[in-house]
Symmetry: C2
Subunit: 168 residues, 2 copies
């Protein structure tokens, strides 16, 4: 096996398992985007919160941070589409961006050595933390906003896809 750098720690989740976990969540979120009526995706809101299209763009922006983790070239927070308003206009465009990031993750992930996951990075020039924690933040933030999308859908009378289904 490969070694990890912290001699006293017990490592319990593999690099391959974290990738599958992440992509499984992203497959579910993609289905949530798909099930939204086109207009509601871009307009529907509860309690002054953002439409799910903007949240989904945030998820794409954050997941695109995989390239920053690998090559150190991060977009700044102002350069992120969900922050500067450079948003897709249709569900189809949003899904194209979604799928591009899926491919980026698959491309960059094998370029990370196991040791890198414990190295500290400054994500998007603003958020400092170890790589594993930065990646968990991307995943957690996706689950958080997707959970909000479930409320939007339920309040529209639409049944969201089952939370536990993560396959293709």
């Amino acid at each position: 096996m490969e070694t990890n750098q912290t001699a006293t720690a017990s490592y319990i989740i593999s690099q391959e398992q974290l990738l599958e976990h992440w992509q499984g969540h992203r497959r579910l979120t993609r289905r949530v985007i798909e099930v939204f009526p086109e207009d509601k995706l871009f307009s529907y809101s509860i309690g002054g919160m953002r439409p799910f299209s903007v949240m989904a763009m945030e998820l794409i922006d954050l997941a695109g941070g995989i390239s920053g983790i690998v090559n150190g070239e991060w977009k700044s927070t102002d350069e992120m589409s969900h922050a500067n308003g450079n948003l897709p206009k249709t569900k189809a465009e949003l899904l194209v961006l979604w799928d591009e990031v899926t491919e980026q993750i698959e491309k960059y992930w094998p370029q990370l050595s196991a040791e890198r996951f414990q190295e500290v990075v400054m994500a998007f020039g603003a958020y400092e933390g170890p790589v594993y924690s930065t990646l968990l933040y991307f995943i957690d933030n996706e689950i958080h906003h997707r959970g909000q999308a479930y409320v939007y859908l339920r309040s529209l009378g639409i049944t969201p896809p089952p939370f536990w289904e993560r396959g293709n």
Copy 2:
């Protein structure tokens, strides 16, 4: 360092890091319970979804699965309070149950060897998977329902605690 059993895998997240990640999320969820007005915690709903008190009881029931992982004695799904309606009646009672599980997690976690995280368990007699994946499911399910609570709170005009704050 301790060894993991899969010779070809690169392990990237330590047992201590996963515990801190989980308890950090649980601290945030506890603050979300606290910020709910007492009556809304038990009654407020959007789109026919459950009040957050019932979701929070589900989170307590699932997190209590830590004892099942360690000693193999699982409650059945019918024995879980959120499923059989044996629910706390006040926020204070809910928080007592919350804090009891926090202590259980701290007690049981050190009893898990690193190897156990890759062993398959049948959680609550119903859900089969490796321990690491079962634990990630508990955490993800908490993030998911807490995200829904954020919509409940926003629709009530209440600002939820910041998602990224996980400390005490």
